[in-house]
């Protein structure tokens, strides 16, 4: 189905609930509905298999409009239908939950509740997901009137429940600090002997208040801020933001720049998947594979450094183009590096499909079938390993993906082994695409002029990160700063599947199951500055500098 027919279909399905339709962009449909119609409207879309819930954007429309807005974004192919619900601007306006229809909505609803102060009626878990335990009640960071002075810590009223041990049943806490987690997150697995009977999670340990911070920085500064959403897929975030802002500004980016962005995105995928392979192997207790894959990952890191000057935050994207060109010399080193990497990736593909002891830990573990993957709203390689054909690069090509398409890799089996196979094969496809682009580099400029102020408007930018679809909602008020940037990273959508699939598995499989979706905690967590009661305070830059100088002087004296 084309995007037009999809949108036509959505219009028909939502007609009974619509209080007004708009089409802000050719691939989008905005439908105003009443809060009470939300479950019915969602059900109309879902039961006719129109799309999946991609994100919920909480937004404060400001004192002038005196309204709050919750936007439910559904995606199918390139088409995006947004259900827009305006709510009165009061403490805890009510909105019905849709978690019973779409499990992943539970996370978004928790965010909606704590960030915008909306009372989501009937949501299965209304405890805090991102905000710290000592955050005061009734203070909502995404409200316009919020100021950091309001966030004075209070005595936490929700302490972690102490699970006593009854017979063989007890709770194993994993995290926030645990050797299996490379980043902080908190999980509680109730186990009976070695078998998992229940799972809960809590995020927000690396929450940095980025969505809020974007509102105080100009369009260009935000590029560098958002690059730091994630240390692994930094390029994904700058690209997603840049494509969105470029759409809003109606700037045509030269094809050469787009091609270079796609090369970097491909290399980033290689580095990310190799990193994941190592972590997953380590979780399984196969440290040799861990060491080898990380050694080989150095090749692509060095290559990225050669191309962009940086190993982690590449900073090659600027609004309207890229910073660095890819020279003939660079092309040569790309080919050389890929020769080596392709050989190694084939070797790893062979290992993960033939090594007997490794297969004991992956084959048939955490199997998620196609229907479950759809129901849980899985994204990226996790979804594709269950046979779900879902890839933004193909469904809704952006940048240079029109000219240099990638082919999709899927697997029907849905277990951990399938996820290894999908990721490794995806790397081979990526390497092939990178070579194609390098050999057929389009000529042209690297950048175009870019305005400082962006015309008012809203846009949605979706980019396929190594872990799945990254979703950006960007709203401009016509000024130098954005009014709202909403970021939804793929890991958040994949959690539902892990927590549900963990039940019934052995405790020993849990690290593997968590690793299987390639979680990225810092991507999930974004929003808040925290002021602790006793041990910290908010410092300005000059205060921090002074503090640092004093501290190191004192340390020198001690020596």
């Amino acid at each position: 189905m084309t995007t037009e027919t999809l949108l036509q279909r959505a219009t028909e399905l939502l007609a009974p609930f619509s209080k007004g339709n708009t089409t802000p962009e050719t691939n989008r449909l905005d439908v105003q509905i009443d809060a009470n119609d939300l479950p019915a409207a969602t059900s109309a879309l879902i039961s006719n298999s129109w799309g999946y819930l991609s994100a919920i954007t909480p937004m404060d429309l400001g004192a002038e409009a005196n309204k709050l807005e919750a936007i439910y974004h559904f995606c199918e192919g390139a088409a995006v239908t947004s259900l827009r619900i305006q709510l009165p601007r009061e403490d805890r306006p009510r909105i019905p939950s849709i978690s019973n229809l779409i499990p992943v909505a539970s996370f978004f609803e928790r965010e909606l509740g704590e960030m915008l102060g909306v009372d989501v009626v009937g949501t299965p878990d209304s405890s805090r997901l991102f905000l710290p335990d000592d955050w005061p009640d009734g203070v909502y960071p995404l409200r316009e009137e919020f100021s950091i002075e309001q966030a004075t810590p209070v005595e936490p009223h929700e302490t972690l429940p102490e699970f006593g041990r009854t017979g063989n049943k007890f709770t194993v806490p994993i995290g926030p600090q645990h050797p299996a987690l490379k980043e902080p997150g908190h999980f509680e697995f109730s186990v009976d002997g070695e078998v998992i009977t229940g799972a809960r999670m809590r995020l927000g340990y690396v929450h940095r208040g980025m969505e809020k911070a974007t509102q105080e920085r100009n369009w260009i500064q935000n590029l560098y801020l958002l690059e730091r959403v994630c240390g692994i897929c930094s390029h994904t975030h700058t690209s997603a933001y840049a494509y969105g802002v470029e759409k809003l500004a109606q700037v045509e980016v030269p094809l050469r720049a787009l091609a270079i962005r796609e090369i970097i995105a491909g290399l980033e995928r290689v580095h990310s998947h190799l990193l994941w392979l190592g972590v997953a192997a380590h979780e399984a207790g196969f440290d040799t594979l861990f060491m080898y894959s990380w050694r080989d990952r150095e090749t692509v890191m060095d290559l990225l450094e050669e191309l962009t000057g940086n190993r982690v935050n590449y900073s090659i994207t600027v609004l309207g183009g890229v910073k660095h060109d890819i020279t003939a010399e660079n092309s040569h080193s790309i080919h050389t590096a890929l020769d080596y990497l392709e050989e190694r990736i084939r070797h790893y593909l062979n290992i993960v499909t033939t090594d007997t002891t490794f297969l004991q830990r992956t084959r048939g573990i955490g199997t998620m079938n196609l229907d479950e993957a759809k129901h849980f709203g899985a994204l990226g390689p996790t979804a594709r390993a269950s046979g779900l054909v879902r890839d933004v690069r193909i469904d809704s090509p952006y940048g240079a993906y029109h000219h240099f398409p990638v082919s999709i890799v899927t697997d029907e089996r849905g277990d951990l082994e399938a996820r290894f196979v999908v990721r490794m094969k995806e790397l081979l496809v990526t390497c092939f695409t990178i070579r194609t682009i390098v050999d057929n580099m389009p000529a042209g400029e690297l950048t175009t002029r870019f305005p400082r102020k962006i015309p008012a408007g809203e846009t949605i930018s979706r980019v396929e990160a190594p872990r799945g679809e990254a979703f950006y909602f960007i709203k401009s008020g016509g000024g130098e700063n954005p009014v709202r940037v909403k970021i939804r990273t793929p890991s958040l959508c994949n959690w539902t599947s892990v927590l549900n699939k963990a039940v019934g598995h052995q405790l020993a499989d849990v690290p593997m199951l968590i690793a299987g979706m390639d979680p990225c905690f810092s991507c999930n967590d974004r929003m808040i500055t925290v002021r602790r009661k006793d041990d910290s305070q908010t410092l300005s830059w000059s205060q921090m500098r002074e503090y640092g100088i004093k501290k190191y002087a004192a340390m020198r004296e001690m020596k």
């Binding site: 040799t288 405790l507 690290p511």
Partner: protein, 307 residues
């Protein structure tokens, strides 16, 4: 033998200091080999010693809600068990200084003392990781102990004695890894289970249960457990070498043989993925125990035939 020599042999040689030091060297060799297999540089030769000294000098944190007597006593019992076992074992290819009929069984149980203590230490702690680790340690003990014992009984039956000294002497003239290859393999793999080396490291799988039963241990207690483990490595390897690879003999050649076993263990460690505890138990009882029994059966039949 008077008390003074007994004391000396217990404190310095073959047990005591020299055994602890050689344990550390073996541990270093193991770590270095695994590191090289994994394309890493690996530790310097004195690293295990440095680790131990550092641990010994660190503060020992006593957790709440435990039995203090057990908490401090268990590491000492574990280490002394392993050290005592050395007195009956041909460490470095030398004739064991003590022997009595049945010392083979006693030594094997002394070696198991370490695992028992680890399990108890985990049980004594209130940490859930320790608890899961302890359960796994003891479960695994039940899995490999019987096959390992059977694998060492094979040579003993062939030699017709329950004394390690007699078996080793008999083994000097009979290379039993040729005559009893199945038992040899089972003994080697049992060794890995006993030492909780990968792929049998589920009891201390860091990605699941942090450090397993020893999660709450720090400082001296942890150091003693570590030393106990390196001592056990030497004693157990010496035992298998003496039984299967040509018995008591030239210490230099004996050390080379033990190193060959260590190389084999290191290779397996770096090649295999950690087994889940249910897989470990399943593997031992489905294959390990049966193979060892088969070996014993063959020996019994052959002996009956020859006599």
């Amino acid at each position: 033998m008077n008390i003074l020599t007994s004391l000396l042999s217990l404190m310095f040689f073959p047990a005591g200091i020299s055994l602890i030091l050689s344990g550390m060297l073996y541990e270093w060799a193991d770590r270095k080999l695994v590191a090289r297999f994994q394309n890493r540089i690996g530790p310097r030769w004195f690293q295990p010693l440095a680790d131990t000294i550092k641990l010994l000098s660190k503060e020992e944190i006593t957790p709440h809600g435990i039995n203090n007597f057990l908490f401090y006593g268990l590491p000492i019992v574990a280490l002394s068990g392993a050290l005592t076992a050395a007195l009956y074992t041909p460490v470095l290819g030398l004739t064991p200084i003590y022997s009595f009929q049945g010392d083979l069984i006693v030594s094997l149980y002394l070696l198991s003392l370490l695992t028992m203590c680890t399990g108890l230490a985990g049980w004594n702690s209130t940490s859930r990781f320790s608890l899961v680790g302890a359960t796994r340690s003891l479960t695994q003990l039940f899995a490999y102990e019987a096959p390992f014992l059977l694998a060492l009984l094979g040579p003993a039956m062939a030699a017709g004695s329950w004394m390690i000294k007699d078996v080793s002497t008999y083994a000097s003239n009979h290379w039993m890894f040729i005559t009893q290859p199945v038992g040899f393999i089972v003994a080697l793999i049992g060794l890995m289970g006993k030492l909780e080396l990968p792929p049998f490291d589920a009891p201390e799988a860091e990605t699941e249960i942090v450090a397993g039963a020893l999660t709450e241990y720090s400082g001296r207690g942890l150091a003693l457990f570590h030393i106990g483990k390196s001592v056990e490595l030497v004693v157990a390897i010496s035992l298998v070498t003496a039984f299967y690879l040509g018995g008591i003999g030239n210490p230099l050649i004996f050390i080379l043989k033990t190193l060959a076993i260590l190389l084999f263990l290191a290779t397996l460690q770096s090649m295999l993925t950690r087994l889940r505890i249910d897989q470990t138990v399943g593997m031992w009882w489905r294959f390990g125990a049966l193979l060892a029994l088969l070996q014993i059966l063959v020996i019994i039949l052959l002996k009956g035939w020859l006599i």
